[in-house]
């Protein structure tokens, strides 16, 4: 394994985190635009619920970004240690998702949710490191 500079390591982890956050936010926006899947399944059955999801363009945009995030993770793992990429990626994504959720999804990220995001972020880092 080659040893990339600190800046290229930061760039690789940032790419994983940003692509993953974009994917999560787009997927969440898609599911909110579709509506409660339990209700849709109660009215139109499982096929109706699957149809509602796969006919939503926003859902495909979200899944495309999640796929890009996965490939950027593979790329990062090719250059960096798993013990750095996995905890850093997983924990930072929680905080960026809280920020993106507040800005783009207009979610009510109150003090309780900020505290939870930071606690879980540090917890995931400690657990995965």
């Amino acid at each position: 394994m080659t040893h990339p500079s600190a800046w290229s390591a930061v760039a690789m982890i940032a790419a994983v985190v940003l692509l993953s956050t974009t994917g999560e936010v787009l997927t969440a926006a898609a599911m909110k635009s579709i509506g409660d899947l339990d209700d849709i399944r109660a009215h139109s059955g499982l096929k109706g619920a699957i149809r509602a999801v796969v006919t939503c363009p926003l859902f495909f945009a979200g899944v495309s970004f999640l796929a890009l995030a996965f490939f950027s993770l593979l790329f990062a793992l090719n250059h960096l240690n798993l013990s750095l990429v996995a905890p850093a990626g997983a924990s930072l994504t929680l905080v960026t998702n809280a920020i993106a959720g507040k800005i783009f999804l207009k979610e009510n990220v109150d003090r309780r949710r900020w505290t939870a995001a930071v606690l879980v972020c540090v917890g995931v880092y400690l657990l995965a490191h």
Binding site: T27, L105, E107, R113, T115, V124
Partner: protein, 150 residues
């Protein structure tokens, strides 16, 4: 502050989100380590790997995770669902400790405690941000019901 009112079914979906992802990953990991090294020169061996029991089970569990994750996102905020996903890490660590009898360092116990605390924080709050339009619609439908005695 408005508190969430999740049904038992919705709690089950959140539990599936937390359990399916780490269990699926563990099955994939176990399946792939059982196989001989796969080279890019023979990609067909990767396709054959999909049909081995551990990997097939892992894929089925990850499909279950994605379906339950999408369902949860349709009725709860992203910032409510994500800590539930992270709680899966705690479940795997506890599995490793009490089922596989692996030792867990003090640092990891601290991680487990922090994630559990964080999930507890979120779970005590509302699951979905109340939208003014939705709130007005609910208010007006309640008024209509009141105005129309049955």
């Amino acid at each position: 502050m408005a508190h969430h009112n999740l049904s038992p079914r919705q709690y089950t979906i959140l539990a599936l989100v937390a359990i399916c992802a780490p269990t699926g990953d563990t099955c994939l990991s176990r399946g792939m380590t059982n196989l001989p090294a796969i080279s890019l020169a023979h990609p067909a061996t990767l396709i054959a790997a999909v049909f081995t029991p551990w990997i097939a089970a892992g894929i089925a569990l990850l499909i279950g995770f994605f379906a339950s994750y999408l369902t949860a996102l349709s009725w709860a905020d992203l910032t409510f669902v994500l800590p539930a996903t992270a709680f899966g890490n705690v479940i795997v660590a506890l599995f490793a400790r009490f089922w596989l009898h692996e030792s867990i360092s003090l640092e990891r116990w601290a991680g487990i405690a922090l994630i559990t605390l964080g999930v507890g924080f979120v779970a005590r709050g509302p699951s979905l941000t109340e939208r003014p339009v939705a709130a007005e619609a609910a208010h007006s439908s309640a008024e209509v019901e009141e105005a129309q005695p049955r």
